[in-house]
């Protein structure tokens, strides 16, 4: 009976993954999946509409789906409604407001609720804009929480409004077909009148006025709309891969005389959607794919859409939770079987994690780490990889256990870091060096993984040793060896990574070492690892002391990873949010607590790690 436990548990894990692989089910007969796959360009890259929806919603609402009274509304369906039935979408609670002062501005209390619809905010639109404008006058480092939050809200509203005029000129969507028809009619006579006017000849005043009004409107639109919806047609635009936004595409009508088929397509989608005519909607979608897919890197776009639906990081984090539970139970019952199950599951989670990492690399065409978000993903991945090696060598479930903790936590961190927008954004010029991204950044981040793994093992040692009697002398010694080995590994990687950073700096702006906060953070890790090893070699610390030092490694690495972003003086720019800071403080407090725990002499521990018989 017990023999089957690993297989059963593994199959359970596999089912979790397979469920994620199932194509998403959307309500209604509209082919939402196909709509989600329409390619557009923003932030310098071509991506599926679904990614635009998810990234926008994450900024506006801090979530990737809208929760309504009728259940969850996926991001893409929200975008569809926003674009085609904005008057309906305006009632959906999507704006998240936490700050009491901001709520006060709206005449609301904190306990009421957290999510607000556009309709809720509309009466206060002007006040919010004014307050945010005032707040931007304060230097960004000195802004109060309220100021930051009001700016955030105004930005979110702005982004929301931009989405409503990204696929068409906005306004009354019901009138779209009429508007386009009118424009097509106006454009010919208008152009003629315009030319006549230029030559000081008699011209048709009415046609001229109409033409000027339309052109003015679309010219403005072309400046503010930020979603490229029409693939480039001219050779120059193709070389730059510069897509036209809706305003530019509509202005093109002046030369072509007709509405761009993609623009017309979106209008027809809107019409069909509003008429609830799924058949017409789906037929037009098929047309648009024919129109669009030739001009877009559809392989990547479709893959990104698959990636969005699969949500591999979500699946992996579920697996990490299961692993955590399985190992915890294994220390009470069926240790061998459960630990083997956990190891198998860990391998499965690692495969998913690796797949997701590689997938992002392929979509972006970049080495794995390009921003803070991807560094969180990679730190988890590296730690899990090392932990798998440890578990393979040492057995006993400890490796799987700490892997599940680090894997889960880093994915949660990544999830929260994603709330600032597109996580596959373009690289700024100076960082644009695949070679250095692939060497320096990867190696140094792997160093972070190793330090955190060592620190988590030490935390396990200290907690298990002080709070339970479950840590045997041998297990303690094995952990000591693990942490020591990992620390050597950390030193190697953080040193090589840091110094490669120096070489990069020397290559790109002539200073091997500039003492900037991020460099100093990396240096602190190197120094700390060197200190730990020399303290051990010199007999300054032994098993318990070394573990305490390893916890210190957590504190220092967290500083180097996130803390330096708080200072805002460095040359390395990353984004970091307010709430992130409190979590960082919280993390430091937990680690300080662990250090205090570790300072208790071992004779007072519940686990007997020193031989009392001889003393």
């Amino acid at each position: 009976m017990k023999r089957f436990i690993p297989i059963v548990i593994f199959i359970f894990g596999l089912l979790v993954v397979i469920k994620g692989l199932m194509p998403p089910r959307y309500s209604g007969d509209f082919d939402v999946a196909s709509f989600a796959e329409l390619p557009v360009q923003t932030g310098g890259r071509v991506l599926p509409l679904d990614s635009v929806a998810m990234n926008s919603l994450r900024v506006i609402s801090q979530r990737s789906a809208v929760r309504t009274d009728d259940g969850k509304l996926p991001a893409i369906e929200w975008l569809m409604r926003l674009a085609f039935e904005p008057e309906e979408a305006a009632g959906l609670p999507v704006f998240r407001i936490d700050n009491a002062e901001v709520l006060g501005l709206l005449g609301l209390k904190q306990e009421d609720r957290k999510y607000f619809s556009y309709d809720d905010l509309l009466p206060h639109r002007q006040a919010i804009g004014e307050q945010a404008n005032q707040a931007t006058n304060t230097e960004s480092a000195l802004r109060s929480v309220y100021e930051r939050q009001i700016i955030k809200l105004a930005t979110a509203m702005n982004q929301y409004e931009r989405l409503t005029w990204s696929l068409h000129p906005g306004g009354d969507v019901a009138q779209l077909p009429l508007l386009y028809q009118r424009w097509e009619e106006v454009v010919g006579p208008g152009r003629q009148a315009f030319a006549q006017h230029e030559r000081d000849e008699p011209f048709d005043e009415a046609a001229f006025q109409m033409f000027a009004a339309f052109t003015n409107e679309f010219l403005h639109l072309s400046q503010v709309a930020d979603l490229g919806i029409v693939p480039p047609t001219t050779p120059e635009a193709k070389a730059e891969n510069d897509w036209s936004n809706v305003g530019e595409a509509l202005l093109d009508t002046i030369t072509t005389g007709e509405i761009n088929p993609v623009v017309a397509g979106y209008a027809q989608l809107a019409e069909a959607y509003r008429a609830n005519d799924a058949a017409a909607f789906n037929k037009e979608l098929a047309h648009m794919h024919v129109e669009l897919d030739a001009g877009a890197p559809m392989g990547r776009v479709a893959f990104e859409e698959f990636f969005n639906n699969f949500a591999p990081f979500y699946q992996a984090s579920i697996l990490y939770v299961i692993i955590f539970l399985v190992v915890a139970v294994s220390w009470l019952k069926w240790p061998d079987e459960l630990q083997r199950s956990a190891f198998w599951l860990l391998l499965l989670a690692f495969v998913i994690h690796t797949f997701a990492l590689l997938a992002r690399m392929w979509i972006q065409g970049r080495p794995p780490i390009t921003n803070l978000y991807s560094s969180a993903i990679f730190v988890g991945w590296g730690a899990v990889l090392l932990a798998i090696v440890l578990e393979y060598i040492f057995k006993g479930g400890v490796g799987s256990f700490v892997a599940s903790i680090i894997g889960f936590i880093t994915l949660v961190i990544a999830h929260n870091l994603a709330k600032t927008g597109d996580t596959l954004e373009m690289m700024r010029a100076v960082l644009d060096s695949n070679f250095w991204l692939a060497t320096h950044v990867v190696i140094i981040t792997f160093g972070y993984s190793a330090v955190f793994l060592g620190g988590t093992l030490a935390a396990y040692y200290l907690l298990r040793g002080t709070l339970t009697n479950g840590l045997s002398k041998e297990a303690g010694a094995a952990l000591y060896r693990m942490v020591y080995g990992i620390t050597c590994f950390s030193l190697l990687f953080s040193f090589v990574g840091t110094m490669l950073g120096g070489v990069w700096a020397d290559q790109s702006w002539g200073r091997f070492w500039g003492w900037d906060p991020k460099e100093n953070g990396a240096l602190l890790i190197v120094l700390w690892c060197a200190l730990m090893l020399h303290a051990r070699w010199g007999g300054v610390v032994r098993e318990r002391g070394f573990m305490v030092l390893a916890i210190g490694g957590n504190i220092i690495t967290a500083w180097s990873w996130f803390g330096t972003n708080l200072l805002g003086v460095g040359l390395h720019a990353y984004g970091f949010t307010d709430s992130g800071f409190y979590w960082l403080l919280f993390f430091w407090f937990t680690q300080a607590f662990l250090i205090i725990l570790g300072l208790i002499p071992q004779k007072h521990w519940r686990s007997q790690l020193i031989s009392t018989a001889n003393s």
Binding site: A429, V430, C488, G510, R511, W513
Partner: protein
């Protein structure tokens, strides 16, 4: 064993030094918000000790800004030079105490040799590295000098030569008020009347009017009002030549035989607080008297590094020669020229995110018969004549390229050091790993 040697060679000392290094690096990071990177580097890492306002800096991590109320609490910390030097001594001593030639120790030995080289190169770079900037305009004239905006020089330029100008450069460090500077190759001497490390030079009448207008603003706080009143009094008397940051007259005209800008325009120097921000440079200004061979004053001039091409060069004649006098950011001249053909600045489509910066230049060194086009771009500097040219910045609507020029004779040392340490660590890691695995396999029941 000698007890001093025992201490200096102990691993305990290593641990202590590493711990102090970490504290130094940590506070040296935090204090950058006050001093900027460059000044912090000088205070913390290129010094023997530093007084750090630890409490205030710690509070800054949570509060975001430096707390002046806690700034009185200062902890002395050993500086970078002291710690680096001690680590070096410690490393060398420990090597003599513990090292026994054996294959197993090659990793450690290599690593430590690399660390020694790294520390030594750190010292050398701190002393030898020079950084400056070269501005080149698209289609502009070739440029044969670079400018160090952190340093200034007072120059007397003898322009009477046919093809060449004779430049006599007095480094900023010699410009101490009251001192008389001998110029070995010129018949004149310079006496420094006043020196301000950061100041604006203004036309006295304009400044007076401006301050008077400000005084009429009822919202001016009392302290500032006092300062303004004092400055206005100084300016009204027509005596003030240099105004301090608090409005006090630091130098009066007195009997100074003023010439040039100061005489014609009623020039005044308004001192400003020094800036330590990394993206700002201080603009020094100075009032100097030129003395002839007998020590008689020829005249006194006011010069500022902020004078651009808009203020005509100030000159004086002596001994049949015409000399230009100017204070300018320190220049280094080279025997070769660089001309910018094209600067390009690409962005990602539909965004303002920069994708690439690059400068197409022509390098022309007639002395060596070199003339060739070079492309300088991100991560691809030009190394020539012991100098390295990096794409640093640009200006004037992408028509001016700013190159950073670095002279660092030991730039390869860190590379070698890193290679040694990396190699040493890898070897050591492999040795440990194989031993570890062997022991694990032995320890496990078959």
């Amino acid at each position: 064993m000698n007890p001093v040697f025992r201490i200096f060679s102990s691993l305990g000392l290593t641990v202590v030094l590493l711990a102090f290094s970490m504290v130094l690096v940590f506070f040296g990071t935090l204090d950058q918000s006050r001093w900027g990177i460059h000044e912090t580097q000088r205070l913390y890492f290129e010094s023997f000790y530093v007084l750090t306002p630890a409490l205030s800096l710690l509070k800054m991590v949570a509060g975001g800004s430096f707390d002046l109320n806690l700034a009185w609490f200062k902890i002395p910390l050993p500086g970078g030079f002291l710690l680096g030097g001690l680590l070096l001594v410690n490393l060398v001593c420990a090597h003599f105490r513990y090292f026994k030639a054996s294959w197993k120790k090659t990793g450690i030995a290599l690593t430590h040799a690399g660390v020694v080289l790294l520390l030594v190169s750190g010292f050398l770079i701190a002393f030898l590295q020079e950084e400056s900037q070269m501005y080149v305009d698209e289609g502009g004239v070739p440029v044969n000098f670079s400018t160090d905006f952190r340093d200034a020089e007072l120059v007397l330029i003898d322009t009477s030569g046919e093809d060449v100008d004779r430049v006599t450069s007095i480094p900023r460090s010699l410009l101490k008020p009251g001192s008389v500077i001998e110029l070995p190759e010129l018949p004149v001497k310079v006496r420094v009347e006043a020196y301000t490390p950061n100041a604006g030079a203004a036309i006295g009448a304009n400044l007076l009017r401006h301050y008077e207008q400000m005084l009429q603003n009822p919202q001016v706080p009392p302290a500032q009002k006092r300062e303004l009143t004092e400055a206005v009094d100084g300016l009204k008397s027509g005596e003030a030549l240099v105004l301090g940051t608090e409005g006090r007259t630091l130098l009066s005209k007195g009997t100074l035989p003023l010439k040039g800008f100061a005489e014609r325009m009623g020039g005044v120097i308004q001192e400003q607080p020094e800036s330590f921000q990394d993206n700002e440079s201080n603009i020094p200004a100075v009032v100097v008297s030129i003395l002839d061979e007998n020590g008689e004053t020829i005249g006194a001039w006011m010069v500022s590094a902020g004078f651009g091409g808009n203020i005509p060069p100030q000159t004086f004649d002596y001994g049949g020669q015409t000399y230009q006098i100017a204070l300018r950011f320190k220049r280094d001249y080279y025997p070769f020229w660089i001309q910018l053909k094209d600067f390009s600045h690409d962005k990602y489509p539909g965004t303002e995110i920069p994708r690439n910066y690059s400068s197409d230049i022509i390098l022309n060194d007639p002395g060596k018969g070199v003339e060739r086009p070079v492309k300088i771009y991100m991560n691809h500097p030009l190394r020539y004549a012991g100098l390295t040219f990096f794409q640093q910045s640009f200006a004037n609507n992408d028509t001016t390229s700013i190159l950073m020029v670095v002279r660092n004779p030991v730039w390869t040392w860190p590379y070698i050091a890193v290679l040694l340490v990396g190699l040493g660590m890898c070897i050591q890691f492999c040795i440990s790993l194989s031993r570890f695995i062997r022991r694990e396999q032995k320890g496990r029941p078959a």
